[in-house]
Structure formats: structure tokens, C-alpha cells
């Protein structure tokens, strides 16, 4: 019996579910219409377990586990929402709001921002900690796109999509801790970098950090679904060979 066909049964929020052995708790939960909030996860990209919003409680484990990378196990009992988790998720969401300048009313992504909608869905009414208000650069050197570091939450979706899907690895992270920043090439201006101008990073960016110049002043919805479509097509063409 190969690993892929091995099936496990487990309990998520009191519901009995079945899953393939290579699936994560997040995948199985979403299949069963159980919503776990995520920010760094995106279908079609590798998971890094960085945003910590998808943490769940597993019976018998003292630690909270990120459901995006937690593999299913037979007989597992998972709780995806509790007062404790709710409080943690709200606090974790407060942190990026206070970390940089997320002023929704003047943001290009207003109304189409994942951070904004997560704040709403998780019942975040206010931020208790002081805003750090850093003065960060806006790089508009690219002919089509802009990176506004003030809106960046360092989810690294751009880094992953550029490296894993586009294969260009233009984006990376520079610096440590609170001084981390996403960069193009070796911190060159985006317009002078080896960027292929495919725009994938803009489509996967959950906030207004990466945006299309042509969308300034108009609604800027993003379409990250292309990733899963692309994945299906690539798999099909591989099998066809």
C-alpha cells in the first residue's frame, strides 16, 4: 500500500472526517467546510507556517500546531476554534497592523485586502498596541508594478511564487526580525532587476504591498486562483509527456 492511497480517519471540531495520509489538517478542514484563517498559506505554493493564524489544538499535544503543515494522523482530535485560539489569532492580527502603516482608507487594496478581511472576520475591533509607523520606501521603478513596503506583512508569498512557480527567484527577504524587508535581486530597484514582468507576485500579494500601477484609483482585486489552475495544467502536461 503506497502512502498516497493510505486513508486516515480523524476528528476535526467534533466532526468525523477521512483524509489521505499526505494531506494537511488545513486541507481536510477546508474540504469539510471548516474555515481556518490563514495569511501566508496559498493553494499552489509551498507552506512555511509563518503567519501562525492557522494554529490549531491537537488533543494530547501540549503545543499548538500550524494546520497548514500538520499532517493528518489516525485518530487525531483537532480543535480549530476556541476562546484561546480566537484570542491568539486576534493578537497575531493586531501585530502586523501595528508593525507598519496599514491605513485602509488610502490603500490601493482597500476592499480587496486579505489582512483587512481577516481583521473583520476574526472580530478585530481595535489595536491595543502602539503603531510603530515606520517610514518605509515605495519603489515605483518598475514600469508596471509598485512595491510599497509600508503595506507588506512579510508573508513571503511573492518570494515563493517567484521562485517556485515563475522560476525567476527575483524576490527574497533581506535583514532580520523587525527590520526584515522583501527585496528584488540583491536589493536592486525593482525596475532594474531581473524581473520577468509576469505579475504573479502582484496577484498573490494579500495586501496592497504589491500593486499594479494601472489600478491606482480604481478597485484592485487580485486573482491568486491562477496558481491552482496553473498547477493542474502543468501536471496534465507532465502526465501527457
Amino acid at each position: 500500500m503506497s502512502v498516497a492511497t493510505d486513508v486516515k480517519t480523524l476528528v476535526i471540531d467534533g466532526i468525523n472526517v477521512s483524509a489521505r495520509a499526505d494531506q494537511t489538517i488545513l486541507e481536510v478542514a477546508r474540504e469539510n467546510n471548516i474555515n481556518i484563517p490563514t495569511l501566508c498559506h496559498l493553494d499552489g505554493l509551498s507552506d512555511v507556517g509563518a503567519c501562525r493564524l492557522c494554529l490549531v489544538e491537537v488533543k494530547g499535544s501540549p503545543k499548538l500546531n500550524p494546520s497548514c503543515v500538520l499532517k493528518v494522523e489516525e485518530g487525531m482530535e483537532v480543535t480549530t476554534s476556541s476562546d484561546r485560539l480566537k484570542h491568539y489569532r486576534q493578537t497575531i492580527l493586531e501585530l502586523p497592523f501595528a508593525e507598519r502603516n496599514h491605513v485602509c482608507s488610502v490603500c490601493v487594496a482597500n476592499g480587496h485586502c486579505e489582512l483587512q478581511s481577516l481583521g473583520q472576520s476574526q472580530g478585530l475591533t481595535h489595536v491595543r498596541m502602539p503603531y510603530r509607523n515606520p517610514q518605509l520606501e515605495v519603489d515605483a521603478s518598475h514600469e508596471r508594478f509598485v512595491v510599497d513596503h509600508n503595506r507588506c506583512i512579510l508573508c513571503t508569498r511573492c518570494v515563493r511564487v517567484c521562485g517556485e512557480v515563475e522560476g525567476a527567484h527575483v524576490w527574497d527577504v533581506m535583514g532580520r526580525g523587525i527590520d526584515s524587508i522583501v527585496i528584488t535581486d540583491l536589493c536592486d530597484p525593482w525596475g532594474e532587476s531581473s524581473c520577468t514582468r509576469c505579475g504573479k507576485c502582484v496577484q498573490v500579494c494579500p495586501t496592497g504591498a504589491l500593486f499594479d500601477k494601472s489600478k491606482v484609483g480604481s478597485p484592485h482585486p487580485k486573482y491568486p486562483e491562477f496558481l491552482t489552475n496553473l498547477q493542474v495544467m502543468r501536471e496534465a502536461s507532465r502526465e501527457g509527456l
Binding site: 507556517g49 484570542h87 491568539y88 493578537t91 501595528a98 512579510l154 532580520r176 526580525g177
Partner: protein, 557 residues
């Protein structure tokens, strides 16, 4: 290499030593080197030659009592009485050599009193006794016997059984049973396995691994090689931080020597077992001491941790099974194999076996390196071996576990040192840094220092650690400046809880510990800052002066 050949080498070394009437050992650890013990050695050699005495001046590793450096140990061959001199400078060379066949130089004698009382040297058994760059001296002190024994008389499983039975636990701080880890890697399946030695010691005030690597590098190499044999690895990496240039150069030289003697390379000791070690330098990131970040760093990637599981034992370096242990853990291996698991298990407490090396620093008379059996009360370490707090000041707390640990107050000083006991009082064993603080230390400021450390050393990957430590640092600064309210304190406590339980790796999970432990034992100091803008230690100027400059001096003093 066979045990007969080892014996032969040992006899040759002993015969060489017997040619001399006196051995003058000069400490060449980083501590003494910073006070020019290298020049001292050159002058001593010159004086010795001029005097015409049969005197062997040689370099050794750390002798432990760093506070009294540069140290010189005189070992007269016709007597058992070694003489330890401290604070020896070039100008004292003539007098010292002249005194060899007369009375010791009174003014240079170290006032040790209780420094060696209760110490038990296993990891440090050769430190200060051998020239770290000469493999034959290591062999003359039973070096590589364990490796030859393991390779020729034991099978991998019985090596693992010995380590399990000894009760050895990871000395990097986590305290995971070493035998269990080895067993897991041994069982993991992969076309290649790796052994990694974690020498990325980064806690402020900790220098145990550095001293072991500088004083007895062969011991670490032997430990790694035995581990590789036990788990079936053929390639090893020694990850040492680049800030330890002396350790790196001695380890490099020692690897070359070990290869020359056939303890590394193909068909070690005439068996089918092959193994070699490569050095990788850490580029100065504290987080690279975390095992998954360290592995990423060796792979040439950005030094960031990744979620576990999968653990490195299953999927580590380049996705292959990897054993990763701390320097001190590897340094314990050879004696366990050589003297047996029962001997080792007879030392220490029920759950914490063996000895632990601590680096004593801060407001303590005898700054230096000590190795004590587990279970020794903290009070004995601080006031017995350490000689207590100098200048007649009052002891306040001892900080263990670095930025991941906590401050232990006087009321818990009778606690026997063990993994569990230290965790129970809100600190942790950590890698072995022990910073003593007296009443001139402000505990809020200490917490702030460690939070600043965690903030700047956070890799920035996960939100709670990256942004949470920055917020906590902000609140702590506010408290130090006397501008905080009770609401700020509540938020701080809440953030501690969130960061502790939601961070990705050990750095974030333990970053709140210094705050939590100082809040547990010194909450009154926090309240004095908040309610009365008063700092009892007089460190925080509470609104009148920026205290940030004083914070670093506080801990590193």
C-alpha cells in the same frame, strides 16, 4: 589504528614529557589570549632556554579560572603539587622560571579557596592539561580509545544502548535524551545520513562550547565520529560561529591531524566505516543555533527555522536523516563509551545524569568555566565555587539559559541543578551561561536587555516573534523610562503569553521567559517603575535619562 598503536603513541608522548624536569603550561584560551598569553609564552620559552633548566613551556587550553588570567600552571615532575599562577605578565617571566627549583612566586599565586571544591571534570578533563593542537597529547590521555573500542568491539546498536543507558541528555539546552535521538536517526532510512555538531553558541555570557573547541577539539571530533558510526552517517558538519576564530583554527588543525592519524577518512581503524567532517562557519545569526535554521544555513539558504515535524532525524540536511547535537553533548560521548554507561549514570540526579559545564559571569568573584555534577545546589556554584558576589554587594539573582531562560532569586538558590528543577522555577538549563546579578541590577532593565536581544536576533519569519518582541521591547522601555501604566503591563503579560505559545521556533517560544521570570520574582520592581517612577537599583533614570546604554553594560559587565 589499533589500541596497541594508541598505547605506543601514548608512551612516546610520556617519554617526551619525562625528558623535562618541569612543565610550564600557559593557558591559550581566548580569555587569557586577550591578555597576551601568547607573548607571555614566547618570553617564558626564551627565559627557560636562557636558564638552561630542563623546562618545557607549552600551550594548553582553558584552565577555567578566566577571571585570574593569564594563567600559568607549573607542573614539577618530581612532585605532585602543581602550582597555578594567575595574572602572569611578560615581566614576571624571569622570576617565574627562576623560582622553578626554589619557592613559588608568592605574589602570583592564585587565591582559589573553594574554586575546585565539588567540581568534576569529564568534558573538561583535558582542558588546560593538553596542547589542543597536538593529537598525540590527546591520545596520551586515553583519547580515541573509545572510538577504537566502538569500531572494533561494538556494533552501532550497542553504542546507542550505552548512550541511552548513560542517561545523557542534550546539552544545548533542550535536554532531549541523546540515546533516543541517536536511535531515531539510526532507524531512519536514507541514502545518506549526516551528523552535525552545533557550535553556534550565541547566548550572552556563555562560552562553554568555545572553550571545549579551543581546549580539546579532538574530543568533539571523536564524539562525532562515534555518533556517525552509531547512526550510520558518512558525512559530518561542524557548525561553528565565525566569531570564534581561535576555536575554528584549532578545530581545522585538529581535523587535519585526525585525518593524518586515520581517525577520519576512509576505512577508519581498518574497518569498513568511513566518515569525514567539514567545518561550516556561522555568519553571526543567533537563530542559527536553532537546529532547522542551522541546517538551512549549512545548505546555503537564509538561516530561518522551519516548522517541525518533520524533525531533522527524519528529514534534515538536504532532506536526509540528520543527527544534530551540541558541542558539549559530543564531548561527553568518548568518556561514556570508555568508562561505561553505568559509571556516567552514577553521576547526577535521577533524571539529569552526568555533569554540566557552566560559564560563570556577571557580578561574581571567580568568573570562569566550571563543570559540576548535576544536582549541585545553585548556592554552592555561586557562593562556593564562584566565590560569591564581590565588593560586599548583595546577591539578587542568577540568570540561566540566556535569552531563553530566566532569573532565579535567592529563595530558590538551594535548588539542585537539573533540567526539571530549573524549568520549574521559570528558567531553564540552557546551554550553560550563568550570569550573577547583585543589587546594582534592575530586573526590568535586565528583562529589557534580553528582549532587545531577541528582537534583533529574531529571524523575522513568523509574526509573533518578529512583531511581538518589538512590541514587548517597546513596553519594557516605557516601563524603564517610568512612563508606563498598568494597562501597558497587562498588555506585556498578554503578549508574553501569545508569543510564547504561537511562535514558530524556540527563539520566539522562549523569548518571553526573561520577562515572565522577572515578573514572577521581582514584580515589585516593575510596579515601582510604574507607580513611583523609581528604580531601586538606580539603573533606570525613569524619565530623566535614556537607560538603553546601561542595559548592555548590565549583563556583559
Amino acid at each position: 589504528m589499533t589500541s596497541e598503536e594508541l598505547l605506543q603513541i601514548a608512551e612516546t608522548v610520556q617519554a617526551e614529557h619525562a625528558n623535562f624536569d618541569y612543565e610550564v603550561n600557559v593557558c591559550m584560551g581566548t580569555g587569557c589570549m586577550s591578555q597576551h598569553s601568547d607573548k607571555l609564552k614566547a618570553t617564558l620559552t626564551k627565559e627557560a632556554t636562557a636558564s638552561g633548566k630542563h623546562c618545557h613551556v607549552r600551550q594548553t587550553g582553558c584552565m577555567g579560572l578566566c577571571a585570574a588570567g593569564p594563567l600559568v600552571l607549573v607542573d614539577p615532575k618530581n612532585s605532585d603539587k602543581d602550582i597555578l599562577y594567575g595574572g602572569v605578565h611578560e615581566a614576571d617571566s624571569y622570576e617565574l622560571i627562576a623560582s622553578l627549583d626554589a619557592k613559588p612566586v608568592e605574589r602570583l599565586l592564585t587565591r582559589l579557596e573553594h574554586y575546585f571544591d565539588g567540581q568534576q571534570h569529564i568534558v573538561l578533563e583535558n582542558s588546560g592539561h593538553i596542547d589542543p593542537e597536538k593529537i598525540d597529547e590527546y591520545i596520551a590521555r586515553d583519547g580515541y580509545q573509545a572510538l577504537v573500542m566502538a569500531l572494533t568491539e561494538m556494533d552501532p546498536q550497542s553504542v546507542i544502548d550505552q548512550i541511552s543507558k548513560s542517561g545523557l541528555r542534550g546539552r544545548g539546552g533542550g535536554g532531549y535524551p541523546t540515546g533516543l535521538k541517536w536511535g531515531t536517526v539510526a532507524k531512519a532510512i536514507g541514502p545518506q545520513k549526516y551528523v552535525i555538531c552545533n557550535g553556534d553558541e550565541g547566548d550572552p555570557g556563555a562560552f562553554m562550547d568555545r572553550s571545549v573547541l579551543e581546549s580539546d577539539p579532538q574530543r568533539v571530533i571523536e564524539g562525532m565520529t562515534i555518533a556517525a558510526f552509531a547512526v550510520g552517517a558518512s558525512k559530518g558538519y561542524a557548525y561553528v560561529r565565525a566569531e570564534y576564530p581561535l576555536a575554528v583554527s584549532r578545530l581545522t588543525a585538529s581535523l587535519r591531524e585526525a585525518r593524518r592519524r586515520g581517525f577520519l577518512g576512509n576505512n577508519i581503524c581498518g574497518t569498513a566505516f568511513s566518515f569525514d567532517i567539514e567545518i561550516r562557519l556561522g555568519a553571526g545569526a543567533f537563530v542559527c543555533g536553532e537546529e532547522t535554521a542551522l541546517i538551512a544555513s549549512i545548505e546555503g539558504l537564509r538561516g530561518q527555522p522551519r516548522p517541525r515535524p518533520p524533525y531533522p532525524a527524519m528529514s534534515g540536511l538536504w532532506g536526509l536523516p540528520t543527527l544534530i547535537n551540541n558541542v558539549e553533548t559530543f564531548a561527553n560521548i568518548a568518556p561514556i563509551i570508555r568508562k561505561g554507561a553505568d559509571w556516567y549514570a552514577g553521576i547526577g540526579t535521577e533524571k539529569s545524569k552526568g555533569t554540566k559545564v557552566f560559564a560563570l559571569t556577571g557580578k561574581i568573584t571567580n568568573t570562569g568555566l566550571v563543570e559540576i555534577p548535576m544536582g549541585m545546589p545553585l548556592r554552592q556554584i555561586v557562593f562556593g565555587i564562584g566565590g560569591g558576589v564581590p565588593d560586599g554587594r548583595k546577591f539578587k539573582a542568577v540568570q540561566t539559559g540566556g535569552p531563553s531562560g530566566g532569573c532565579i532569586p535567592d529563595e530558590h538558590l538551594d535548588l539542585p541543578v537539573s533540567y526539571e528543577a530549573l524549568t520549574n522555577v521559570g528558567s531553564m538549563m540552557g546551554s550553560g551561561g550563568m550570569i550573577v546579578m547583585d543589587d546594582t541590577s534592575c530586573m526590568v532593565n535586565v528583562a529589557r536587555f534580553f528582549m532587545e536581544f531577541c528582537m534583533t536576533e529574531s529571524c523575522g519569519k513568523c509574526i509573533p516573534c518578529r512583531a511581538g518582541t518589538a512590541q514587548m521591547f517597546g513596553i519594557l522601555s516605557k516601563i524603564c523610562d517610568g512612563k508606563a501604566s498598568h494597562a501597558d503591563l497587562d498588555l506585556l503579560i498578554d503578549l508574553c503569553d501569545v508569543v510564547k505559545h504561537t511562535s514558530l521556533c524556540g527563539l520566539g517560544m522562549t523569548a518571553p521567559n526573561p520577562v515572565l521570570s522577572t515578573l514572577r520574582y521581582f514584580k515589585h520592581e516593575y510596579l515601582e517603575h510604574i507607580d513611583h517612577q523609581h528604580c531601586r537599583a538606580g539603573v533606570c533614570a525613569c524619565g530623566t535619562k535614556d537607560a538603553s546604554q546601561l542595559a548592555a553594560a548590565e549583563v556583559t559587565a
